[in-house]
């Protein structure tokens, strides 16, 4: 019963939206696509903000919309984070946070005011006027305000896209901890594979108003028949466990059945599950396992398939010994020189690995 079932159609000028997907109602589900693919329209329709969209929306067994029902937005137990924080300018930060919180019955306040304020680091901002906040601070307040309605589903419309790189990197850990600590299922609209890799478990890929693919984020991000692998920051996600810490050189080793990789040392208990992100452009290929290289992370792999992204570069999809997928982006010239073909065994050299959770 715990699921998100959505099926929507609309016709606006020559843009046809026709999507159907179901996703697990736990963790973060990414609605991914380029601008104009209809992802914001889908999110708005789920929130009931776009009444011209027909279809059905069933969230955790509750029907929000179908042919005969349309529950108005204010009666849907959702939280919505807009692209620009859209804080109320006439209210202080605290009053903004209390706006939704006061409008739900006290018995439904599963999420504590103090917890959210602490979690998102906005205690020092509470008394401020909203005009005196930075972009990142505004967005954190926007997220906290949505969470304080104790939603059954949190809808986030590219909450980071209006922020610069620094602010984005600063806010990502907050979003990750939300996911770990509050356990509110979320739908997260994004066009950034990096964000998806950080946050999402499940992913729905939209193209021109249609669902092009859906499934586990780590699988979709590396499929060569989808456009994502060709993006400049295409990356793969690998799962492993924290194996050991190297205090001399400040490294933490993450072990997987297919080998181990090193990340900058993190204060994590050994044996904890870990998810790492590896960018395709940081993976080079070699026919032999070199030991005279500066690269620490060398994983044996088998070529699944290759795909030319442009006239210069090609992307190689590799299967590691434990079945996980890794992408490597190399030049077409190198691919030719190494004679890369399907089923070939070789070694992936990973220059940099980022631990994301």
């Amino acid at each position: 019963m715990s699921s998100i079932e959505v099926q929507l159609q609309s016709r606006l000028g020559d843009f046809h939206l026709d999507v159907a997907f179901s996703a697990p109602a736990n963790g973060v589900v990414a609605l991914f696509g380029r601008s104009g693919s209809g992802k914001t329209s889908v999110l708005r329709a789920i929130a009931g903000l776009n009444k011209s969209v027909t279809g059905s929306v069933v969230i955790q067994g509750e029907t929000w919309q179908n042919a005969s029902t349309f529950i108005p937005t204010h009666k849907r137990p959702l939280g919505y984070v807009f692209q620009e924080a859209s804080l109320f300018p006439h209210l202080s930060v605290r009053k903004n946070l209390e706006y939704g919180w006061q409008r739900i019955p006290a018995s439904e306040r599963r999420i504590k005011f103090d917890d959210v304020v602490e979690l998102l680091g906005i205690v020092p901002l509470l008394q401020r006027a909203t005009a005196r906040l930075s972009g990142g601070e505004r967005q954190r307040v926007g997220i906290a305000r949505a969470l304080l309605t104790s939603p059954k589903l949190l809808l986030m419309d590219e909450p980071l896209s209006a922020l610069d790189h620094g602010a984005k990197q600063a806010i990502l850990p907050y979003l990750e901890s939300l996911h770990d600590q509050l356990n509110i299922p979320s739908l997260y609209v994004s066009h950034d594979p990096n964000e998806v890799a950080h946050l999402a478990d499940h992913m729905i890929l939209l193209e021109q108003g249609k669902v092009a693919a859906q499934g586990k984020a780590s699988e979709l991000l590396t499929r060569l028949d989808l456009p994502i692998a060709g993006y400049d920051d295409a990356s793969s996600l690998l799962e492993g466990t924290v194996a050991s810490h190297d205090y001399t050189y400040h490294l933490t080793w993450i072990s997987m059945e297919c080998g181990r990789v090193a990340v900058a040392r993190q204060d994590l208990p050994e044996g904890r599950r870990a998810r790492v992100e590896i960018r395709a452009r940081d993976v080079s290929l070699s026919l032999h396992a070199h030991c005279d290289t500066s690269i620490l992370n060398i994983l044996p792999a088998r070529v699944i398939d290759t795909h030319d992204i442009n006239q210069t570069q090609t992307i190689v999809r590799l299967q590691l010994l434990d079945g996980q997928t890794l992408l490597s982006r190399i030049t077409r010239r190198s691919a030719m020189a190494l004679g890369i073909h399907e089923g070939m065994h070789l070694y992936a050299q990973v220059k940099s690995v980022a631990l994301i959770s």
């Binding site: 903000l49 937005t73 204010h74 919505y80 300018p89 006439h90 706006y99 409008r103 005009a131």
Partner: protein
């Protein structure tokens, strides 16, 4: 010199405040609708609301007189329900003023609502606020400069009314003889002293009202900017 006659002053203030209050109640939903709707008949309705801006007051007063009179449709209706006819009564003046000052309330409010856009209402809806709750807790405070402008313009414009009043109200002391009509009467009977007091007072009053409006609006607008 006869003692100063305050009656037209009080009557005018009473008329202006009643009209302003009524128009804020009637004009707000009209302005809200005009700002939101995409219906094809939005433009004709907007044009009807704006008519008093361009029509000579005498034209408006003439038609009102016909409509409200004993042979007019509205007059027959008010007589049938036992209210009598409205021309040459205070109530008739209020009705005429409401129509005459309508654009001065609807247009600033409509502009303000359009500038606000739909986002604040959407945000409030996702935070569980019902439509009326959203309007009171978000739109009204954010549109405060617009409401203030509308109220002041309506009040001042009603005080300055003359042509319509003359057509439909005449000059009955205590009932329909408002300031502007009183000044006219004084001038006609060559009581220039009285006319001076009233006209000068009105000039000063109008100036003060507008000045306060600009000051307050300037401050409200600034306080909402980052």
């Amino acid at each position: 010199m006869s003692p100063f006659d305050w009656q037209p002053v009080w009557l005018t203030l009473k008329l202006a405040s009643t009209t302003t209050l009524l128009l804020l109640i009637i004009g707000t939903p009209i302005a809200w609708w005009l700002a939101r709707t995409r219906a094809w008949y939005k433009q004709p309705i907007a044009a009807v609301v704006a008519l008093p801006l361009v029509l000579p007051p005498t034209v408006l007063g003439f038609y009102l007189l016909i409509m409200l009179g004993p042979n007019g449709p509205i007059g027959q209706f008010t007589e049938a329900i036992g209210l009598g006819t409205l021309p040459f009564t205070f109530e008739g003046l209020v009705l005429a003023s409401v129509i005459y000052s309508m654009p001065f309330v609807v247009q600033p409010l409509q502009n303000t609502f359009e500038t606000l856009g739909s986002r604040p209402m959407e945000v409030a809806a996702t935070l569980r606020a019902s439509p009326l709750d959203r309007f009171m807790s978000v739109v009204v405070p954010l549109a405060r400069p617009g409401f203030l402008t509308a109220a002041v313009l309506c009040f001042a414009h009603t005080i300055g009314e003359f042509g319509v009043v003359l057509m439909i109200g005449g000059s009955i002391p205590g009932e329909t003889k408002v300031l502007s009509v009183a000044i006219y009467d004084h001038v006609e009977t060559l009581e220039y002293d009285q006319a001076h007091w009233l006209a000068g007072g009105m000039l000063v009053f109008s100036f003060l009202v507008l000045m306060v409006l600009y000051f307050v609006n300037g401050r409200l607008t600034r306080s909402h900017q980052p």
